[in-house]
């Protein structure tokens, strides 16, 4: 059983670390390995569809094909909440009336985490769906979690929600979802970070907070690492070099810049390794002007085998 054999992988992290790209690469790797995969984003922006050059679905909330074996879905939390109410109240007219009422907006604003609960609930229900033959409809669901304060808000919500909704249908649901998220045979958690001082500190912090909630990350994905292109001695040689040509001088500056950044990054990766024993997956920095399907594909080649190798 590898990490890709879990039913759900939740990709978390702060904004700006490449979370969506990593989630797309993980989903693509799973799809290429033959797993029926669903990539979920929690927004209305359809960033995943754009990454794969796929059309955004005609109707919001529809699953849309991104790649062979890979479907995409954007969950709009507000909409998910409305759907949930219809389901829970059983009377569509009543639910619709309720959703339209202004008061409903106030209840959902005041009941913190309700939207996150129904979003996770939707993912959970999707993972339970079966085809007519009784096979799971999706072998793996990869969730690009929304960036929140600590980058792990979605994961912690079910438990904190249990505190405020102590009875009722939502309570039972939140309990089931909290169990699902904490069950490491079914759900995996990936934390994405960058090999820089602040993101590393934040990741170490997030790992601690996850543990406070009885959760743990299965892997930390260190994104955008520069490859080692030059030996130490070569760096020294380049530093003392003063070529006559302007182009060569610019080239040497670029190479020295790469060496300096690579050196700092390696230090940050070592620091991360000292701070946590959670397995690390390292992804290369891509010198691609924009992240497109080719870039995602390149990362999938690295992240796929790495996750296959993790238990």
């Amino acid at each position: 059983m590898s990490l890709l054999d879990r039913r759900v992988l939740i990709v978390s992290g702060k904004g700006g670390v490449g979370k969506t790209t990593v989630a797309a690469a993980v989903a693509l790797a799973a799809a290429r390995s033959g797993r029926r995969t669903l990539a979920v984003e929690v927004s209305t922006q359809h960033r995943l569809a754009r990454l794969f050059n796929a059309e955004a679905p005609e109707h919001a909330g529809e699953e849309t094909p991104l790649y062979p074996n890979l479907m995409g879905l954007s969950i709009d939390p507000q909409r998910a909440l409305e759907e949930y109410l219809v389901l829970a109240l059983k009377v569509r007219v009543l639910a619709e009336r309720l959703v339209e009422s202004r008061a409903f907006g106030y209840v959902t604003a005041a009941a913190p985490g309700l939207k996150e609960i129904v979003t996770l609930g939707k993912v959970w229900h999707l993972s339970e769906e079966r085809t007519r033959d009784g096979d799971p409809r999706y072998d793996l669901i990869v969730v690009d979690a929304p960036a929140t304060g600590h980058g792990i808000g979605l994961l912690r919500t079910p438990r904190s929600f249990l505190e405020i909704a102590r009875v009722g249908r939502v309570h039972a649901e939140a309990r089931a979802i909290a169990d699902f998220v904490a069950d490491r045979s079914r759900t995996g958690i990936l934390l994405v970070t960058l090999p820089e001082e602040m993101p590393v500190n934040e990741t170490v912090d997030a790992l601690g907070r996850l543990r406070e909630s009885g959760l743990d990350a299965d892997a930390v994905v260190v994104n955008a690492l520069y490859l080692k292109r030059f030996a130490e001695s070569e760096g020294d040689a380049l530093r003392s070099l003063q070529p006559g040509g302007e182009t060569a001088r610019a080239a040497v500056r670029a190479a020295l810049s790469q060496i300096a950044r690579r050196h700092d990054q390696a230090g940050e990766v070592r620091r991360l390794g000292r701070a946590t024993s959670v397995p690390r997956v390292e992804l290369p920095f891509l010198f691609a002007p924009e992240v497109d399907v080719e870039a995602v594909s390149e990362l999938a080649e690295v992240v796929g085998p790495a996750l296959e190798g993790l238990r």
Binding site: K14, S160, E163, E202, R229, G245, R261, E290
Partner: protein
Amino acid sequence: MNLEALTAEREIVVVCGSGGVGKTTASAAIALGAARRGRRACVLTIDPARRLANALGLEELGDEAHEVSLRKGSRGRLFAMTLDAKRTFDHLIEEHAPSTAARDRILANRIYGQLSSAVGGSQEYMAMEKLYELHQAGEYDLLVLDTPPSRNALDFIDAPNRMTRFIEGKALRFLTEGGMRAGGLGLRALGQASLVAWRAVEKVVGVTLMSDLTEFLLAFEGMYDGFKERAAAVRELLADRRTVFLLVTTPERAPIEEAVFFWRRLVEADLPFGGVIVNKVHPDELGDERHRAAATLRRAATAQLVEARVDPELAARVADTFLAYQALAERDRENVRVLARRLGPEPLLEVPYLDHDVHDVPGLVRLEPYLFGATA
């Protein structure tokens, strides 16, 4: 953009942008630059993840102002603090509650506990509130606010309004009346339809949550006016010429999209906009040679390096690295051009992608010439 003039004239700088663009670092560098130019500056953040402490090279940063020591000869002073959203909210309740009983009821309420620390919008609101409070106190010449990375720009601009709308009596009549009737208080007749809706919500979210909510809202009665007035004052200060909003972005497509979106919201909301800082721009090392084709460049770089007695294999690797960087530099230049076109005449400032991350005062000082022009 002339940050030198802006930080000399304005009293509040609000720094906005999406996550991961270096907003905290920029905020700290702006406050530092202002301090080195003689101002008594304070940089504030509500980010709980110690980013600001990190940017300043501090171990911890509490919600009390902490003085950051500057090099000898600096004329001004620099302070930094993390805002504790919950504490600010508590303070606001204490100030506006009509009685100690009402205050205690609210502070002990579970919904309040969540609302004050977790709900989207309340963090932003509290940042604005604290900013207002500090400005009123007048202890600093300049306040620089590092805002939380809000995906939705509206969250931030609208936060004070949304909070007051939320606790406004009229809009919540449904809830409180429903709660009273359902709870057997029967104060006023509630329409049958509303009661049905109330019961329906209750069935889903549970009785305790609804009674907590009712209690919370009832406790807020009598505070609405105070809150509303305060929100209006905050709003007025933000729209005032004593304030300036700056945007930070990186030269990549997604953050630029967000920056443009944010800028539109600021302009629509009639808030004073100062300009955009484009951070981490890969420097274009080529100067006038930029239009040469990649193959020509590679050949030229390799030949010149070999001429300088570099091993041909190493020369080839250096040339490859150079071309890879050059591609990023060209992308950045193109993206900055697109951004400039979309912003029209708005000021735009570029900060190069430095070889080393900034996470201490000397690092911030290295950023200064790019932000302020000449050094202090």
